[in-house]
């Protein structure tokens, strides 16, 4: 699944690192590192993390399941 975090909004509350530790990790006290393409088995955890973010800074792909690549036709 695809994820992006708006780190200009993120304030390091670390809720995501608590709820989905395989996808979101704190680097030092405040900096967040994350996996932009976590495995689908983490889906529930990642969605919970996105919902819990106090800054609503986590965006999860809305096209999940009907993947976008079909749109891309290199020519």
């Amino acid at each position: 699944m695809r994820v992006v975090v708006d780190l200009s909004r993120c304030q390091g509350y670390a809720q995501c690192a608590f709820l989905a530790p395989d996808a979101f990790r704190m680097h030092g006290e405040e900096a967040l590192m994350y996996d932009p393409n976590p495995d689908d088995v983490q889906r529930e955890q990642v969605l919970r993390a996105a919902a819990a973010c106090p800054l609503q800074a986590i965006l999860v792909d809305r096209l999940e399941g009907r993947q976008a690549p079909a749109e891309v036709s290199p020519s």
Binding site: R2, S8, R9, E29, A31, P36, N37, L59, E71, S75
Partner: protein, 464 residues
């Protein structure tokens, strides 16, 4: 037809072309569809594959946690676009409203969004840049190449340029326990963006993490062995250093060359536009159908005396793209100005560095809260007695407070909002590197005498 009928017809079956299929281009396309544009949408991009996120390339990808092809951007919605990928745009014709691709194809449009961004500034000697082991980091292919080189366990990595990207890469090297030398022309890391005081803090951080930091030096030559592998770098003070990997982190070049004959105000600084993201011509006339967003846009900001500012910031790309897209499908009275303050972040040596405002628009800087030795503080920047920017080290929660101070032109120095007032809260000169280090010279020439004849032409620009 009335203009309202025209707009309805355009939203229904007009043709929009987006040049640049990265973050700004993608978010603009999504916004166009959100706003009810049902006409044809064409995405032009020089890289193959779907739009991907770049910030992880100098961090999670280089540490080996995330594969370089694992940063494709999540989609907010379907955009039902035709994608023309792998070929850069070669020209723009304002008379016929066509984008010309480098392979000669011509793509007609009613409105176009230019979001061609920035590319990495390459090492200035081509044969040296081509050595095995010499890298820049901008695309996922670059990042994948450097990730492999770091995984191979180099004896030493040389990072040329201690801006944000160079510092982040040095940080990754130390995290991976790889010896690293950072060479910077200025007196300290990050000084070009944040000034001398923060530069000193950044230098302390690098040295505390075991970086061999060399400031005030210039790399003059990259030397390879008989197999064409990078082996040694030469400095202007006559010294050399042996390393297996060199990372050239000397900033970016805005992708505007393809607009050279277009008549737009495009050059090394970016493409000038108004706050509605409409491009200006060289003569300073506003265009109706040409819009600009992202790293390549150069937009006036009223907070900073309406100076034209170009930003290579993630959030700016998203917000400016949304404003541009909204304005592309809106009537004059419904258009939005892009007025948000710049926000920037960098993660290095375990510290979260963030800024709000424009730190280079300042004459003084003061630490307003926290502790510099602990690398946890906020510094406020002031220009002629008002707050114009703030930088936080592991103190991001306070930046919104400073954003309000900037937006309300609050007096500088501002009072400390918390009990952790620093012992010595005294403003000091901000001290940015002088124009000799930053200036790139004149870019235009004015010709003609009569009002109907006077025109501005672009001077030929050469990148240093």
């Amino acid at each position: 037809m009335t203009s309202a009928e025209n707009l309805r017809a355009f939203k229904r079956d007009g043709r929009i072309v987006v040049v640049g299929a990265s973050l700004a281009g993608l978010r603009a396309a999504e916004t166009l569809r959100d706003e009810g544009f049902t006409g044809s949408l064409t995405m032009i991009g020089d890289e193959l594959g779907e739009p991907y996120d770049r910030p992880p390339l100098s961090k999670q990808v280089l540490t080996g946690w995330v594969p370089a092809d694992g940063t494709k951007l999540p989609r907010r919605r379907e955009i039902d676009a035709e994608w023309l990928l792998g070929v850069p745009a070669g020209g723009l014709d304002l008379k016929t409203n066509q984008v010309r691709l480098a392979d000669g194809r011509e793509i007609p449009f009613d409105r176009v969004l230019i979001a061609t961004g920035v590319r990495a500034r390459p090492w200035f000697v081509e044969s040296e840049a081509a050595l095995d082991g010499v890298f820049v980091v901008r695309t996922r292919e670059h990042a994948e190449g450097l990730r492999r080189a770091l995984a191979a366990g180099p004896r030493r990595v040389l990072v040329i340029g201690a801006g944000f990207t160079g510092s982040e890469i040095a940080s990754v090297c130390r995290e991976r326990d790889i010896p690293v030398t950072v060479a910077e022309l200025a007196a300290a890391p990050l000084v070009g963006a944040l000034g001398a005081m923060i530069g000193e803090v950044a230098a302390d951080m690098q040295r505390a993490h075991g970086v061999d930091l060399k400031c005030g030096v210039k790399v003059t030559r990259l030397e390879g062995d008989a197999q064409g592998r990078f082996r040694r770098a030469h400095f202007d003070d006559g010294t050399t250093i042996d390393a297996d990997v060199a990372v050239v982190a000397l900033g970016g070049i805005r992708n505007t060359e393809w607009l050279r004959d277009s008549g737009l105000a495009a050059g090394v600084w970016g493409i000038a536009c108004d706050t509605g993201c409409r491009a200006l011509t060289l003569d300073g006339l506003i265009t109706d159908d040409i819009f600009v967003a992202g790293d390549v846009a150069r937009c006036p900001n009223p907070v900073y005396e309406y100076r034209l500012i170009s930003l290579e910031h993630w959030a700016n790309a998203v917000e400016q793209a949304e404003v541009a897209a909204h304005n592309m499908v809106s009537a004059q009275a419904d258009r939005w100005p892009h007025l948000s303050l710049p926000v920037f972040w960098s993660i290095q040596f375990g510290v979260n560095i963030k800024s709000v405002g424009v730190p280079t628009f300042a004459d003084e800087v003061v630490v307003t809260q926290g502790s510099v030795p602990d690398h946890r503080f906020v510094a406020a920047y002031g220009y002629r007695g008002r707050v114009t920017a703030a930088v936080s080290f592991d103190n991001a929660k306070w930046l919104d407070h400073y954003r309000q101070l900037i937006e309300t032109a609050a007096p500088f120095p501002p009072p400390c909002p918390t009990p952790d007032q620093p012992a010595d809260m005294k403003p000091v000169p901000v001290d940015f590197p002088g124009p000799a280090l930053l200036a790139q010279g004149a870019t235009v020439v004015v010709t003609g005498h009569d009002p109907g004849e006077r025109r501005v032409t672009a001077a030929q620009q050469h990148h240093r």
